[in-house]
Symmetry: C2
């Protein structure tokens, strides 16, 4: 299921996104006061799939799953950490980038989703710096190539050792006929603002750039000789630590293992149920509202820790989405449902916002921002069904606006005596704390052409909106009565499953992100789309293509047409 | 050469972008006072390639070449025209969009470049409205589908006849498994700001939307019953004419045929020479500076008409670029050279800017803007060689900044006694009149990360900059002396020809456009890149794909993986 052509080294049928430091094979995480060190030390004998070795600190999705886990833990388990040092545990190499054998053998769907996940991890690094006070400094000793440099680009500050052999490079094009697709090209032009002709030279120079020129061309922030490296590193640690507003004396919470029970066609979490209907090519994700009232103090929230409902739910939803993305390629549509008390959801939202200065409340809202962005970027048709007994309020109402379409039932179906479907808006929908990649809230994006509708929606905050009211406010796509409900939705889902999966991916990638573009949308749209195109082209992936022939001693043969 | 798999109906070996109204097969252009009417009346028996018919006002590149020509003539030959009415000459159909048989049979390279050209034509319509005072009103009677609606979307105002059968639709996805790739998806979300769930319904509804709902969903501006159509049209013509600043009494100039002589490996224009070196996969475009001093009055400029050097050169360069794009797919790199007096070039620039209120001066600068954007968007590696005797000044210096790299010779080569290479900057490089698609000047884009360099460049305006000065100012990539010159350039060009053409296309599409995104860059990056991806996918173009099977009675068979 994970990748028809390949066997997972774990022997499992699915890629698992859950891990913890004691199980890391590729990273060493250590914390010393306000400085954490993430040491990349990839175990070449522990690839995610069988059939290749992770030489020279090259990585595959398994390596990145550990990195993503470590970064989450730094946020939640280590509130005192203000600086993350990213370094290599290998002597002469920083990181050789994504593993080429893995790429050459992976299915198109896996490659694309691997890149998407690694992109999200790197965006998360920048998010932690911008919003959470955890700044990353990358120290490069040895060669830092391709995806290795793309990882470095996500850091706030890049130090390159000036030893005559340490280099940065993006050799994807000359070596493999693909792009630096994990944000590389975009961060070079838009984050580091490298002059485009320098960028052209850099991206076509297999051996990379070292020393002073790397600084002059803005590729790194400083080059430092070995003799001075320790001093400079300490100095930078202090500088960046001073910029942080992380609390000095708070105690972290432990990100305990997810409660998760998997059967063939379902996954059961504490607050999330996933049902896979393979015949219909559907995944239904049902979210359960809080099972206890919002806490009365931040101490209580900290005490609940990973069990605190909003955090628990966010982690479970994230895992569910990733599982479908990478393990259920045949799923055409994800259906979101919910069950619970909308007011109780809003109460949690209000609690988090009333305490937005508290480090944990802040982290939880930031976590929701990332999870919802992950939903936005999931290449499945998204539909939200708002039924009696549901609790799409505040943060959870974002799943209505993240969906390609939403359907809301007017009144009740026969024999159902749960409260009629209601939508409730709250601060979470309006205060800018849950922006999309384009920098706007989902409501603002929705109403780009109708400022009055945005105002009306804002005025409706806190009100219990029935189907007709929600439709009138433009919050849902269709309000349907019990006569039409089942048929309309069935027809829609059948139609969705009948369309070209690729066409839908392309269409949704365009329709979901109206309005402004950011570095993030540039990465996911422009760069990713071109990379996906190239991942289909014989010049890269064909029998004679560069990706396939790499390391065989045979030169790639190219179709010379420029398209 | 144009398209290996297909034969041009003309019997020629190349697609020709030059035409004139007397040769139009598909459009009728008429002018009445300040209103022009562009009647789309496609001759189904005059396709560009053999093997399909252009039924139902469907179009191919040949139809769009005529449209582009008509729009150019409206700008230059008809200064009094303020409103362009876009209508169909067929009774029950407005336009069925791009011809499906043509798409199904075209090579990937042709499809991609066909879309690029049509995109440029539509952007040109919006440019005429925004900067040239020619506003387009589109009147839709009958069905307006796919590329037909995408053309309508380029207009300022869309009137849909309310007759129970006139519809707008984007049926590409449900019908053909491809995207509305000629700006459709982007203009729906970003120009018309259609709500994304409505857009989702619209883009998956084969039969389209009609009547009031089309207005409510922002798909058209008004629906008008047949009985009132004439009155409303007249009213809108007056409204939009009033917004225009076009001169009422100016006399247009005639866009006389280009002087062009083609041999197997070269094209000779009056101010442009193109040399094709097929072995090296190079096209060298040499631009010649003015052969007469700048005129002393706008009357003289009008008198020169299409022979006026800046206009003549712009048209010739445009034709040369298009010819390479669509007919020379094997060309890896375009080398720009120039010959002439830099000061004479600046004198023309200064003349045009001193008279920027004159309609023709304005049109000529706008033409250069479009031509230079066309260069930016050309998927060939671009390199500018600045040699002794060259005239890269002002507008022509933009070709240095549009290039992926530039090389400038220090001093002279042995035996050459032309003046040493010099670059001169002028107002054209700084006044914002020649922006890239991202809305910034090429210099501003170049120096995104170095505001001081931008200031220094601006201060150097009017100075004769030799190679070392130009390199120091960051204006050229490399300044080389006579010892290195030939070898360095040869090695670079050989290297470029050795890389994957697709990889280069993707890399250049990312590196060329740092900084802000606009609707235009969204169309060319996000939308185009996804469409290109889909144009490679078996679900669209495979034997069992939707594009191939359309009209055969057989249903497409899809790989159900969502990627």
């Amino acid at each position: 299921m994970a990748d028809a052509e390949r066997k997972l080294s774990s022997g499992n049928g699915r890629i698992d996104f859950v891990t913890e430091p004691s199980r890391y094979r590729h990273w060493k995480l250590s914390v010393d006061g306000d400085v954490a060190t993430l040491l990349m030390d990839v175990d070449e004998h522990a690839p995610l799939f069988e059939g290749y070795e992770l030489k020279l600190n090259s990585y595959d999705l398994g390596v990145d799953i550990e990195l993503a886990d470590a970064l989450e833990r730094l946020r939640f388990e280590h509130p005192a950490v203000r600086v993350i040092m990213l370094r290599s545990g290998k002597p002469r190499v920083f990181c050789a980038g994504a593993n080429i054998r893995m790429l050459a053998g992976a299915s198109h769907a896996h490659k694309v989703n691997f890149c998407k996940f690694t992109n999200e991890t790197r965006n998360g690094i920048e998010d932690a710096s911008a919003f959470s006070g955890q700044h990353m400094i990358c120290v490069i000793t040895g060669s830092c190539a391709g995806g290795g440099y793309e990882l470095a680009l996500a850091a706030d500050h890049i130090i390159l050792t000036d030893d005559g052999s340490s280099t940065v490079s993006l050799p994807e094009l000359p070596l493999l006929a693909v792009l630096p697709g994990t944000g590389g090209l975009t961060r070079v032009t838009d984050k580091r603002k490298v002059r485009r002709d320098h960028a052209d030279v850099f991206c076509t120079t297999e051996e990379g750039i070292k020393g002073k020129r790397a600084v002059e061309w803005r590729l790194v922030d400083e080059v430092v000789p070995n003799t001075k490296l320790d001093d400079v590193v300490k100095e930078r640690e202090r500088e960046f630590a001073q910029k942080s507003d992380r609390p000095a004396d708070a105690k972290g919470i432990s990100l305990t293992p997810l409660k998760r029970k998997r059967a063939t066609d379902s996954v059961e979490y504490s607050s999330v149920s996933v049902e896979i209907s393979r015949g219909e090519r559907l995944a239904t994700i049902t979210i359960r509202g809080p099972d206890a009232p919002a806490p009365t103090s931040t101490d209580k929230m900290v005490e609940h820790g990973a069990d605190f409902w909003p955090l628990r739910l966010a982690r479970e939803l994230d895992d569910a989405i990733l599982d479908i993305r990478l393990n259920e390629f045949d799923t055409a549509a994800i259906v979101f449902k919910s069950a619970g008390d909308p007011k109780a959801v809003l109460a949690y939202d209000d609690f988090l916002r009333a305490n937005s200065q508290h480090w944990l409340a802040r982290e939880i809202v930031l976590k929701w921002k990332r999870v919802l962005k992950r939903v936005d970027l999931t290449s499945r048709s998204l539909v939200t069904l708002i039924e009696p007994g549901s609790c799409f309020a505040g943060t959870l109402a974002e799943l209505i606006f993240a969906a390609d379409r939403s359907y809301m039932l007017i009144g009740n179906l026969e024999g159902d005596n749960r409260p009629p479907a209601a939508v409730m808006l709250g601060k979470a929908n309006m205060d800018g704390s849950l922006p999309m990649s384009n920098g706007l809230s989902r409501l603002a994006t929705r109403f780009l052409g109708e400022p009055q509708s945005l105002e009306n929606a804002e005025k409706a905050a806190g009100k219990t909106l029935d189907a007709e009211a929600a439709e009138k406010l433009g919050l849902v796509t269709f309000a349907l009565d019990d006569i039409d409900w089942e048929d309309e939705i069935r027809v829609f889902l059948e139609e969705r499953a009948s369309f070209s999966p690729d066409g839908l991916t392309g269409m949704e990638a365009n329709l979901r992100f109206g309005g402004p573009e950011t570095m993030e949308t540039k990465i996911f749209a422009r760069l990713t789309a071109w990379q996906n195109w190239i991942f289909q082209r014989p010049n890269a992936v064909g029998e004679e293509g560069a990706l396939r022939r790499y390391g065989t001693g045979q030169k790639a043969v190219f179709d010379t047409k420029r398209v």
